[in-house]
Subunit: 333 residues, 2 copies
């Protein structure tokens, strides 16, 4: 592997000049610049990043900590991160924690020891070992994406769950439904509450009072959707529409409704949230809300790079608009 000294020798200049040609070409005369550039080509010189990093104390890398890479939504977010990171000449390091706080801590420690210039956390909590770093005077560059545990304290990028869920609920209301049930996500997930709020808000704005009996527990799984639907169908006055906190539960809902001999959307309308890949292929195709996952990732990365470059404490929160994607699972009453 040829080094900068070889190039300098080949070009008949000092190493400093070579380095300058590469970084601040305007500071070296045109003539010399060309000679050096030629020497670089000739020697097939590739700068040693390790040395560069050691010297400049910049890793030119960011780490993303994620609980489950296999979650398609997270995967898409990371894809967005990667895309803008690549544009900016940054490398993305992957830290998959499996949801284990200990592993998350491990990654955080790794990150904090100057191995990367910043961290994007996709998970639901701030790794405890990162806490002191991001809260100190000159915080370690950090942004939280997707989940909103504390948007006031930490830079956060994600959708407005409350508003988005109010949107889809309003869409259902606009189709004349008045008895609308909601299937919640798990209680320990911050988005669950925001979506419930959005649901209630839409009802209230339409002059209705939310009925606690129509808000039923779920855990984002298909099975939970089925169970919840079975429960709702058994009610004295069952809902004419069900808005689910995510698509998978909605799929479970549809299945259970069908199994009960009723039809979607003729008898009961169903709406989901997330617009997962298969939402398009359910029967009927699912009306849902799509989160611009790649965009979230891209903006999170951009925010992080801002923090890295300007070193300004950007406590900004970016809310990315969602799209209601109308398919066939909601019908006017």
């Amino acid at each position: 592997m040829t080094n900068i000294r070889d190039v300098a020798h080949a070009a008949g200049v000092s190493v400093a000049t070579v380095s300058r040609v590469l970084h601040t070409p305007e500071k070296v005369s045109e003539q010399v610049r060309e000679t050096v550039l030629k020497a670089v080509k000739d020697t097939n010189y590739q700068p040693n990043m390790m040395a560069r990093r050691l010297r400049t104390k910049k890793a030119h890398a960011v780490m993303v900590i994620v609980s489950h890479l296999t979650n398609p939504f997270y995967a898409t977010v990371i894809s967005g991160i990667q895309s803008v990171a690549q544009q900016r000449g940054y490398t993305v390091l992957l830290g998959e924690s499996g949801g284990d706080p200990e592993v998350e801590d491990q990654y955080a420690a790794f990150a904090s020891s100057k191995q990367v210039d910043g961290v994007i956390q996709l998970g639901e909590r701030l790794p405890s070992s990162l806490k002191p770093l991001v809260e100190r005077e000159h915080p370690f560059p950090f942004v939280n994406a997707c989940e909103f545990w504390d948007p006031t304290t930490y830079p956060t990028v994600g959708i407005d769950n409350r508003k988005s869920f109010a949107d889809v609920t309003r869409y259902v209301l606009d189709h004349g439904h008045r008895i609308i049930a909601h299937i919640k996500g798990p209680d320990d997930n911050p988005v669950t509450h925001h979506r419930v709020e959005g649901y209630k808000e839409a009802l209230i704005n339409a002059g209705l009072t939310p009925d606690p009996d129509l808000i039923v527990d779920g855990d984002f799984s298909i099975e939970a959707g089925s169970r919840a639907a079975a429960h709702l169908l058994s009610l004295a006055s069952p809902p004419t529409a069900i808005v689910s906190a995510n698509d998978e539960m909605a799929i479970g809902v549809i299945r259970t409704i069908k199994e009960s001999g009723q039809s979607v959307p003729s008898d009961i309308s169903v709406a989901g949230f997330d617009d997962i890949h298969f939402a398009k292929y359910t029967d009927p195709p699912l009306t849902t809300v799509s989160q611009p996952a790649a965009d979230i990732g891209g903006q999170a990365a951009a925010l992080l790079f801002d923090a890295i470059d300007n070193k300004l404490i950007s406590n900004r929160t970016i809310r990315i608009p969602t799209n209601l994607v109308v398919r066939d699972s909601v019908k006017a009453i």
Copy 2:
């Protein structure tokens, strides 16, 4: 950030001793070792990886190049890679190419310039800039996972597509079917051919001759499955079973069959391949073949680390067994 010199000073020893305590503790007296360890704790010392890497010329990192991170299968493979990498103290760098050979080349160049110790490629081709590196005398550590473009030349980890597809086809044959159609993947994908071969092999072993009219084109999409099914249903003597090269096409098939008024599996049996998340939730639940994706990743990583450590040119090919997962979409005739 405290460095090794600070620790040495705190412990009243030389930097060399500190380094030795950290790497070859058996070479330093118990007494000194303890003093140093205490100093490390006291000063909250975190070794600077950049310096270490510069000095040792080891990046302790591997790169995985993948076309689409959003492909759930790839995501799972990467999850497997990450898991064993973490165990071994390696970092995983992500390179998502979007299928663009130019971007792949870019990553390969990055990798080759000593930034990482090895590369795992999940995509369908060897990045051209990597070619000279992996084919030279002391090859750059490299393993190909998932796709088999050239298992004889490069270390490769993946399933035996031919055998696995023969398995599922045989399963269908064992249920008495004799007119069995196959929906292919795209022709430019290496696995397509292996699966077609497996299909044919099973038929031949059962004493049948494959009928070219029953092998129809597809591209792994749900829509392609629908189209292919429509075509097959219009045949003079339509198949009693359809084995699809992947699950998504199988889903399209099921839908089209239902739309034609027939039923799965009573009228026509359907089998898929991949065992994607939603295979469990189709109606009827899809009989398919599951690829142990995480395992593939893990083994690929292990293979890569072998190559890195032993520096032996391990041209081995690892075939990971698949599981036929029997659900309800195939029924005895």
